[in-house]
């Protein structure tokens, strides 16, 4: 049996990444409390690559995605520190006007619920056209129309259906339309927030397959947010595991699925999946719940639930260690492990990071 692992994706590219996030910290502030949604994360997505951002509800994945597009709620969402670089330009320094040029055009987003993402009173064709016209004001009506049909065809919908309304499509088809709108301007980066969670598994397979094809054809990079490790295994090149606002492990898919070292949470995630192939009667859940983001414990956020928790874990936040060229893990388990090197991200303002006392 030939080696099915795609070789191509294993090249560690030295080319500049398309998206680079460093030291990002995002909080939500209401009059009652401060929610620490994202805490000092580091992320990179290469050109043409797909990064799977894995984590459970409340881990901060959607917040991260919204931060990239600067779509956090106006009055309550704050990017406290960090940098986000897209194709060499700093997103955080852009004006709103510049951001509008980026959104939908260079970076597109697909949200989780296809039912509510489409405007029920506009035809599907109109909605796609809207996106096209917004970013290509010089196109004539006929050209726009042609592009609408092309886009529909690209996602596997009959072009004649452009005159139909969203309610006339099923869930899977609606999600395709949403993806079509996201891709019609051929963005460089597609952010997909749990794009198939609301879909049946057979439809999910179709949609994922379509996304893979499109990605290959257009060379789009993708940030795929999901909680489903199966999807990650089948579609992603790189993986980042998020917990309580931190990225506790990241690397290539090979690192995460086959590597020798893992963060205990990653191990727990794999263990708690009801697996079609396992024979055990009982599942192995991770006990407890994610910590309250308004009241994060000092030290490692996973400590209260960790089977391998040590004293130091409760007191001090672990540092990120790099193993090999790509595998990063943030856990005290590897403090003594000489194979890895401690990474300090490019200092933006050195206040967090190393010293945690």
């Amino acid at each position: 049996m030939s080696d099915n692992i795609t070789e191509v994706k294993e090249e560690v590219t030295t080319a500049a990444p398309l998206l680079s996030i460093k030291d990002l910290k995002v909080t939500y502030r209401t009059d009652l409390e401060v929610v620490e949604a994202v805490n000092d994360i580091y992320l990179e997505i290469g050109k043409g690559k797909t990064l799977g951002l894995v984590g459970e509800t409340g881990a901060g994945k959607t917040t991260t995605a919204l931060s990239i597009l600067r779509l956090l709620p106006n009055r309550t969402g704050f990017i406290d520190k960090g940098e986000i670089f897209f194709d060499g330009e700093s997103i955080l320094d852009m004006t709103e006007h510049q951001m509008q040029h980026v959104r939908g055009n260079r970076i597109s987003m697909v949200f989780q619920d296809p039912m509510t993402a489409l405007n029920p009173v506009l035809t599907v064709g109109d909605q796609i056209a809207e996106a096209i016209k917004l970013h290509n004001p010089h196109l004539s009506a006929a050209e726009v129309d042609q592009k609408v049909e092309d886009t529909l065809q690209m996602v596997g919908i009959l072009p004649q259906r452009k005159v139909e309304y969203p309610h006339q499509f099923s869930g899977g088809m609606k999600q395709r339309v949403v993806i079509a709108i996201a891709l019609c301007c051929e963005p460089e980066l597609l952010i997909a927030d749990e794009p198939t969670t609301a879909l049946d598994v057979t439809i999910q397979a179709q949609v994922l397959s379509m996304m893979r094809d499109l990605r290959d054809r257009l060379g789009t990079s993708m940030l795929l947010i999901t909680h489903d490790l199966g999807i990650v295994a089948q579609t992603c090149d790189d993986v980042a595991v998020m917990y309580a606002g931190e990225i506790i492990e990241s690397g290539t898919t090979k690192d995460i699925f086959l590597g020798g070292r893992h963060h205990p949470y990653t191990v727990g995630l794999f263990d708690s999946i009801p697996d079609l192939e396992s024979k055990s009667a009982r599942l192995n859940p991770i006990p407890g719940l994610m910590p309250d983001p308004t009241d994060l414990p000092p030290g490692c956020p996973f400590a209260p639930r960790c089977r391998e928790c040590m004293d130091i874990c409760r007191e001090k936040r672990p540092e990120t260690k790099l193993f090999g060229e790509t595998h990063r893990i943030r856990c005290h388990k590897f403090d003594q492990d000489a194979a890895g090197t401690v990474v300090t991200d490019e200092p933006v303002e050195e206040e967090g990071g190393k010293q945690d006392e």
Partner: protein
């Protein structure tokens, strides 16, 4: 699972159960179309299918939350099909339901303890409110809800805890049979595992029979003794749990299994065996195999008449006329 005594009469039995909805334009929506099933105490039947297959409607029809159009429902030997509200009231103590959405299935204006105690109050199980609440607190313990949440409101708790409220409520009348309508679909993966374990423990403790409705095949495998696969209101395959995964016979089951993305990167480049097209409409269905339009093995004969549910091997039922001949092909594709 624990051993199930199948010599006695089944706890629950349905015969040709049908539920049709009449639509505004006069068309008939065949939500549940001729389901036959038997369930014994302590047993779990997993009902699997995608949206529109009728599995949720089936659960609710059995509980008479929806009135059946035709067919019979027997509970502990009694024919409850025509029971009116008053008669069903008593039955509700024996047959309960756990809902899918822990956010909408609990009254947001009631505190946790009030929600759990409600059923007991309706049925006047205890003389005083205090005694009722006391018992409700015991159910909280049973499902692993810390007592300090008794006075909290549901929206203050997370999905996993809310679902435990729903479970405690379903248990409060000491039922014999519970319809679990996708109880973990709305929850995170690690919480799912916790809740599934809880449900299995409760089943062992209280000898409960479950009808576990879900679209997630991997979840159903762990909790079910036998599994029924539904498509557009009909049962297309019914057999023991292990058997379904080892020898799926119906092309739809096969496709379902194949569509599940496995967390295994060594099989990354295998093409998903995609079923083409969308689920057909359950409205005004014509005779013939309902999966035919999407099935790669479909023939003229398949579309001529409804394929009957045949026992293809002991205990293994399949509604596909080509089941036997496709057996070898399907098995080869499912090499794990």
């Amino acid at each position: 699972m624990s051993d199930i005594d199948r010599t006695a009469e089944p706890l629950l039995k349905t015969v040709d159960l049908q539920k049709y909805f009449k639509l505004k334009n006069g068309a008939m929506l065949h939500a549940v179309d001729g389901i036959n099933m038997e369930l014994w105490p302590g047993e779990t039947i997993g009902v699997v299918g995608e949206s529109g297959c009728g599995k949720s409607t089936l659960g609710r029809t059995i509980l008479k939350l929806i009135e059946p159009t035709a067919g019979r429902i027997y509970f502990e030997g009694k024919d409850i099909t025509d029971f009116k509200t008053a008669q069903m009231r008593k039955m509700r103590q024996d047959m309960q339901i756990i809902f899918q959405d822990p956010y909408s299935s609990i009254d947001p204006r009631k505190s946790v303890i009030e929600v759990i105690a409600e059923y007991m109050i309706i049925h006047k199980m205890f003389r005083t409110k205090a005694e009722t609440y006391d018992q409700a607190a015991k159910y909280m313990d049973r499902v692993g809800l810390a007592r300090r949440y008794a006075n909290s409101y549901p929206h203050e708790l997370d999905g996993g805890r809310r679902q435990r409220i729903g479970i405690a409520r379903a248990l409060s009348l000491n039922p014999k049979f519970i319809v679990c309508d996708e109880p973990v679909s709305a929850l995170d993966v690690s919480i799912q595992a916790q809740i599934l374990n809880l449900l299995m423990d409760l089943q062992d403790d209280m000898k409960l029979a479950y009808m576990f409705v879900t679209h997630d095949l991997s979840v159903v495998k762990h909790i079910s003794d036998k599994i029924m696969v539904m498509y557009l209101g009909q049962c297309v395959e019914l057999c023991e749990s292990e058997e379904l995964f080892k020898n799926p016979m119906h092309p739809y089951t096969d496709a379902l299994l194949a569509a599940i993305p496995r967390p295994d990167i060594t099989r990354r480049n295998m093409e998903f065996k995609l079923i083409k097209g969308e689920v057909s409409s359950p409205i005004n269905v014509k005779p013939g195999c309902r999966f035919g339009a999407r099935c790669e093995y479909c023939t003229e004969e398949c579309l001529a008449a409804d394929p009957p549910l045949k026992e293809v091997s002991p205990g293994h039922f399949c509604a596909c006329i080509r089941a036997e001949e496709l057996k070898a092909k399907l098995q080869a594709d499912n090499e794990f």
